[in-house]
Symmetry: C2
Subunit: 151 residues, 2 copies
């Protein structure tokens, strides 16, 4: 087992993963009646928020409209980043700036603006971020709390 | 993009993934108040049920005790198996048969019986299984419905 990473290294690894191109996130949401949903979705990172794109008429969009919260896993199951995030906005693909749309398409390698379906962007601000690889990294796994990177 | 797999091939690929050693699943559950939880957990497959092991005092266990349902992702995000499953039982590690405990330890490469913590096995029966790789496999992705493999 490798030595546990310190907080600074974990933050650097998490930011690299958030900026990585052509990756997917596992996005878990819950309905107001308490049904869990889970789906893999492409993502982009704008420096402060995770940006997802999905049809408006999906459980993910409806659940986020209902309670505003998602729990998101990225990375591999043994090199995990877990993000608890709050919805800050939903926008039709035609309503975002060119810069936002281009940045999403560049990072995700897929452009929802040209998909033909009725898609929306979901903007999610991390409230808590945890990162761990193996059992010796469970301690110290929280690197952001209440939306603030821990020093 | 590769040609879409037929149902028979998808089922074979799913069974291979369910029987694979040393893999983790992304396990999404929801609290009765509608908070989504997500965590990677090792799994085993007993031929009919997915077997997980986790401390009794975790959101996953509490949520399953509350409403009995999980949505589980295995594989990579671009070679996905999505399983909607119902809880059929929770057992203290000391209460399962040697055969069940040994089979879990063999497949998961980790033995909860010797962990020292108060762990439980969670037994989950798939109700629906979907499998897809790329956009051309979204059609036909459902290969089990109401607990029955589609013919």
């Amino acid at each position: 087992m490798a030595a546990p990473r310190d907080r600074e290294d974990r933050k650097a690894d998490v930011l690299a993963m958030l900026h990585a191109r052509h990756r997917d996130a596992w996005v878990a949401t819950a309905s107001t009646s308490g049904a869990a949903h889970l789906v893999p979705l492409s993502y982009a990172w704008d420096g402060e928020q995770l940006v997802l794109a999905t049809p408006r008429d999906t459980p993910t969009t409806r659940n986020l409209e209902g309670n505003g919260h998602a729990r998101i896993g990225i990375g591999e199951t043994r090199d995990v980043v877990m993000i608890d995030a709050s919805l800050t906005g939903i926008a039709d693909t035609k309503d975002v700036s060119t810069a936002v749309g281009d940045a999403y398409a560049e990072q995700a390698d897929w452009d929802p603006r040209s998909s033909g379906s009725a898609l929306v962007y979901l903007f999610l601000r991390p409230q808590r971020i945890q990162a761990w690889r193996e059992a010796n990294e469970i301690a110290g796994r929280t690197i952001m709390r209440d939306g603030v990177w821990l020093a």
